[in-house]
């Protein structure tokens, strides 16, 4: 069955490519591409500056987008949504700005071993600047953090906990609600990375009670260059700015400045208003499909892929053997074949997957592998894509000269 959804995506509609690399970046539906160009065609002016009709419209569109994001992740108010370039920038903002505000020598930052480098390196740097220490929370081989392990790793020295919602390698979902509660009992701030969860499942920041949540637009059908940092208002207000410059001040003198209110304090310089409008359109696109359909499709295809992979000699799935633990992300190794060779051979059959360390070197080391191949799903994938992948994967070892 060929998903009708492919017709929404110009690149997939006009191309024979089997795209299984959505966790790296998603393809873009036509409505999103139109929303971005519509901003430039109809509303283009520099938001917040122009005392003219267009400037006001640009500001209005940008702030409407902020509200769309707020409602999408169930934040209390739009001021808690900061537009940034991507999840990486969001996490650097928090690590730099919150880090400089609350970290002191001897403090601890508890970072899960499962993190993408973007939720790890900023904390290593914050620790270096402030004299704090990074402590790692380790997971089991199938990608699970036990409550006991978390209780053991956290202490009253812990000021910040950094944890991803869904792992970009293992696909597993972490119980943020439970861990945020424990973190708060120790007086720590909980920073969650939603880059792999927000595009694929309903996320309610108030229910999870995380203090910060980062995500990228480009992994959820929006263009590259627009992302979001959610932060609780009280914390955002306490934090110093990350970047300084235009449109983030109330007043400037020769000696200093009074910062603008949140979220503008964190949005220095000309913003990506067209990107924000396109992100809002991407959210409307997801909501039109509905997360029930998204999750049903992705879990059905995950199951189909994993069952097929089990039949192929030499394939080992990294993490949980259960399909329901994978959320559309399946990372695997193939005996005797380097992941980059696996990806190149799949590529020759026009199948796009990711190979390498997936920007999570400490996790791979913890799991005892140096690199792996990953397929990741999106709403536009269908059974045909999975069958093409399985057919090609089944031939790789033979193509590399093995008997089976």
């Amino acid at each position: 069955m060929r998903a009708d959804r492919k017709k929404d995506f110009p690149l997939l509609r006009d191309n024979s490519i089997v795209y299984l690399d959505t966790a790296a970046t998603s393809q873009k539906p036509e409505c999103v591409l139109k929303a971005e160009s519509e901003f430039y065609e109809k509303y283009n002016a520099n938001p917040f500056r122009g005392i003219h009709e267009l400037g006001e419209m640009a500001t209005e569109k940008y702030e409407e987008a902020r509200q769309t994001v707020q409602e999408f992740i169930h934040a209390k108010e739009p001021e808690e949504i900061v537009f940034v370039r991507n999840a990486t920038e969001a996490l650097n903002l928090v690590a730099y700005s919150l880090g400089s505000e609350i970290l002191k020598p001897g403090d601890e930052i508890l970072v899960s071993i499962m993190e993408h480098h973007s939720n790890l390196l900023p904390w290593q740097q914050a620790a270096k600047r402030t004299g704090a220490k990074v402590v790692y929370l380790e997971c089991t081989q199938d990608g699970h953090f036990t409550e006991e392990a978390f209780q053991k790793a956290i202490s009253d020295h812990t000021k910040i906990v950094a944890m991803t919602h869904v792992s970009n390698v293992l696909g597993c979902k972490n119980d943020l609600k439970t861990f945020a509660k424990i973190a708060h009992e120790h007086g720590a701030v909980f920073v969650a990375d939603g880059a792999q969860s927000v595009p694929h499942m309903s996320v309610d920041v108030q229910d999870l009670d995380v203090d910060f949540l980062s995500f990228s637009g480009h992994k959820m059908f929006a263009p590259m260059g627009i992302g979001v940092l959610y932060g609780k208002r009280a914390l955002l207000e306490k934090m110093p700015p990350f970047l300084c410059g235009g449109e983030m001040i109330d007043s400037v003198t020769r000696e200093g400045a009074v910062w603008a209110e949140v979220p503008h304090k964190f949005e220095a310089g000309t913003v990506n208003a067209a990107g924000a409008c396109a992100l809002a359109e991407a959210i409307r696109y997801i909501e039109k499909i509905g997360f029930d359909t998204v999750e049903e499709t992705e879990s059905r295809l995950t199951k189909l892929a994993m069952e097929g992979m089990k039949q192929i000699h030499g394939v080992h799935v990294v993490g949980s053997p259960k399909a329901e633990d994978h959320h559309g992300i399946i990372t695997f190794t193939l005996d005797g074949v380097h992941p980059h060779d696996v990806a190149s051979i799949l590529d020759a059959d026009h199948i796009a997957v990711r190979a390498g360390h997936h920007c999570a070197q400490p996790l791979l080391k913890h799991l005892g592998i140096s690199s792996a191949t990953r397929l990741s799903l999106g709403i536009y994938n269908d059974e045909e894509d999975i069958h093409a992948f399985l057919k090609s994967l089944a031939e790789i070892r033979r193509q590399m000269g093995y008997a089976e």
Binding site: H340, D341, S344, I345, D349, G356, S392, Q399, G401, Y402
Partner: protein
Amino acid sequence: MQNKTFYNEILTEHNLHPEHKHALDDANLVLEGVNPSCGDDIWLKLKVENDIVVDGAFEGDGCAISQASADIMLDLVIGKTKDEALKLADLFLKMIKGTVTDEELEELEEASVLQDISHMPARVKCAVLGWHTMQEMLDEKD
């Protein structure tokens, strides 16, 4: 299934059964070559006497392209003078850049199976790893 990969028999044979992948205790030139994109990590070992590469070997891990390319390279350069080995490295890099002539290609013998890698920019570093490492080793001796 027929597809357009360059993983042909020569390449896979050198990857699965590399003749020169072993220790070389009497090597007098040893250098590590690393390709961070694939995680290829090889140790190239050469025994050079009177400007002649009398023996050579490599150890380490990596993708099929890096492994086969290093093995094919050693096949070619063992027994050659330093200058001849460096000239072959030049030709190999010219081939990857797509500026090699047909005559030059013949001199590269089996290494010419890697010619198509020039169409795969992401994998060029794998193919040239051994050759670059050898260039560095032999140039340094001057």
